[in-house]
Symmetry: C2
Subunit: 433 residues, 2 copies
């Protein structure tokens, strides 16, 4: 399919081509109220302003629901369901198309262009959803294997359940923050000498601060408590994807996680990219995930073999002196279980998911060290440093800025990208105790 | 201190004596809107109606905030802070006192009595808070020890971290439900023959359905992300306590929980009692918890040695044929860590807690089998059945109703009780796959 061409100037290589149309929540200095927008090239189209000026006059389906675009989160829009997301995206594509059938809506309406097309650099992006519950999975099998080797050796690297169910745990919703939010180095309780026989923990600023390269999926359609979502319907319950950085305190994690899993090691901050790429936009990039050599139970068996996405993922690390290095290249295909499988499993006991709930994939690593999605793997548990210009890192230092980039496609005029998710490490507080 | 006497008839033995004044959310058949009330004897005092009819005319502190009583959750009232909760409770006690200084507010105002004093049996109680995040701890040391013995033997029953930090994990907020909500037996993935070498899981209705006797604490005062709450301030961030039943699917739990902790085994339903007992009301019942023989780090060191509460806890099991037996008697004192310590630890990495967040204690067991707070412990992992009349149980059957009761004090005219939290097991759905 040739790329959709637009009358509007969309820079070559933009993540936000006409093939994308991701949704987000924005505000501006002249209008502080948070509202719904889509990203197009270097601009955001303010859908509140667009709707208020008859932008949707040709789309009768959305007219009774236009108040959703004035909401400070995507929850109300997402709750309308996949068919509505689909027609709204297609309609916006048609409004921007070179030979649009609706030239008077925006193409020939310079007043509305001025009002509703906001340069991205003048826009502040907010958390796209009001998140009820956040669940983090562990379905990046290469990451699970590499971590398992470190802790238990190659023979027992993956637990017996790993290929039978998408392993996951409940995360912390309150500390999910939008890209750009600084992350303060936490204090935490950990063992300064983990190998020592004497288990004498300290409470101090942590040393082993790490990022984790993940994807996140937002739920649109809720299910009732007690009623599992069949695998065949699970994808329809998803709104779209973001990139997610599951910041981790490794020294806290290794001391606390037995027997109930990671807790304080993960709840001090989780960053997400702010433009949510719709499931529809990702559809052309579906690929096979990692092959599962175990027989999967019927409630997790997905039709077709393309269940995950070919998303090129990259991790850049910029130090305070200004050295910059790409420390990982990975891909959204490196998953053993898809998000629909994760959702079907999550609801398999009848757990009710709600509009705006967030599911994380777990760290996404390829097989080679250059494809490892966190420093724990990359440095083999802190044993091998990596070069960032003339500096070295095993874990993150104060002032380090970590940026993930994710994009689908190769055609520079039709990229479906996520933009970036970034966060900079601030020094620990002086707690005075 | 002699019990407070009232002009209003409060039955002897009521959990809701004048010494208590717990807060909740109610609706009635004639007024379906959910609103704030307190429980007094066999009645609820509707605080929306009370406020609207000048009930708070003598309490200037609350007057600018009276809209909080029309809210469908306690979040707005709780957010006003402990000093306000304290004066409102004391004022309501004084309005009901035998020789009240405010006789015209309610004692001599039969119209308002008719309007605002609702018989509890005509009131529907709802979830008291809009819960952002729910965290479950594991600080009932006897329970942790007994479970540890089952899995690892007595020498390694408690993990090395157990006495250094309150072990906890993130739970599922969406499936926290008020007392009385039926709990459907979940399907789940588990090993039908866990001892077999071959790990061949099934997806089927679970067999090992259990309750867990816990207390829950609601957060009133939020803390900012990145800013730990000092231990000396932690109790002021708590609104009050409820009883909590952490329904558990033991067959799912044993298969799924390594390495990231319990997930689907716990997220299908958590029941709480609906009247929240304020921290002030519990103050006279403070006692020492379980002694910690390890040196506790300063950020967890609480002043004074009375940090938990003497709450008499009881578990009743009623079967479908109508047999009834008390299957456990336990006490709120059987905790190694207090809720303020749990809160200080939870925020120690800077995790932000919000008004309405819920913290669970973990199962509270005494040392003898009759004091065990769950069937897993009581039946030694399903090996020893218990008698319920002429029936036997190892785990819960369909139709079983589990009721927890909790109360502080011995003076029948001054009890500070929680009422009950109850739930009945419904048969599994027929999923047709």
């Amino acid at each position: 399919m040739p790329p959709l061409r637009s009358w509007f100037s969309i820079p070559r290589g933009s993540h936000f081509s006409l093939a994308n149309i991701p949704f987000g929540i924005v505000s501006t200095s002249s209008n502080k109220s948070q509202r719904v927008a889509v990203a197009i090239g270097d601009h955001a189209l303010d859908l509140e302003a667009f709707a208020a000026n008859n932008g949707f006059s040709a789309l009768s389906t959305i007219q009774p629901h236009q108040a959703v675009f004035s909401e400070p989160s995507l929850n109300a829009f997402a709750a309308l369901g996949r068919p509505i997301h689909s027609v709204v995206r297609k309609y916006i594509q048609s409004v921007f198309a070179e030979n649009t059938d609706f030239p008077n809506v925006l193409k020939n309406n310079s007043a509305l262009q001025t009002q509703a097309l906001l340069p991205l650099k003048e826009v502040q992006c907010h958390l796209p959803f009001k998140i009820g519950d956040y669940t983090d999975f562990f379905v990046g099998m290469n990451h699970a294997y590499n971590c398992g080797v470190m802790f238990r050796g190659p023979a027992n690297a993956l637990n017996p359940n790993y290929k039978h169910l998408p392993v996951g745990y409940h995360g912390r919703a309150s500390s999910v923050v939008p890209s750009g939010t600084p992350i303060r180095r936490p204090h935490g309780q950990f063992l300064p000498n983990p190998s020592s026989e004497e288990k004498a923990p300290v409470y101090a600023p942590i040393n082993r601060l790490d990022y984790e390269l993940e994807l996140g999926a937002f739920v649109c359609k809720p299910n009732k408590m007690g009623e599992p979502v069949p695998i065949g319907e699970a994808e329809d319950n998803l709104f779209g994807l973001v990139m997610l950085n599951d910041w981790s305190a490794r020294d806290v994690q290794s001391w606390e996680y037995i027997p109930l899993g990671p807790f304080n090691a993960k709840n001090f901050g989780t960053s997400i990219s702010t433009w949510v790429v719709l499931m529809d936009a990702l559809e052309p990039f579906k690929v096979k995930g990692i092959e599962n050599d175990k027989e999967v139970l019927p409630y997790l068996k997905q039709k077709g073999d393309k269940t995950v996405y070919d998303i090129q993922l990259k991790v850049d690390l910029k130090t305070n002196p200004g050295n910059l290095s790409t420390v990982a290249n990975s891909n959204g295909r490196h998953l053993l279980w898809s998000f629909p499988q994760c959702l079907a499993h999550h609801t398999s006991t009848g757990c009710n998911l709600q509009t705006g709930d967030l599911l994380g994939s777990g760290t996404i690593s390829g097989t080679s060290p250059e494809e490892h999605g966190c420093l724990l793997e990359r440095t083999e548990g802190g044993k091998k440093s990596i070069k960032i210009g003339n500096e070295e890192r095993v874990f993150l230092k104060d002032g380090d800025e970590v940026t993930f980039t994710g994009v689908c496609g190769a055609d520079e005029e039709a990229l479906v990208g996520f933009g970036t998710v970034t966060g900079r490490i601030e020094p620990a507080l002086n707690l005075g105790h």
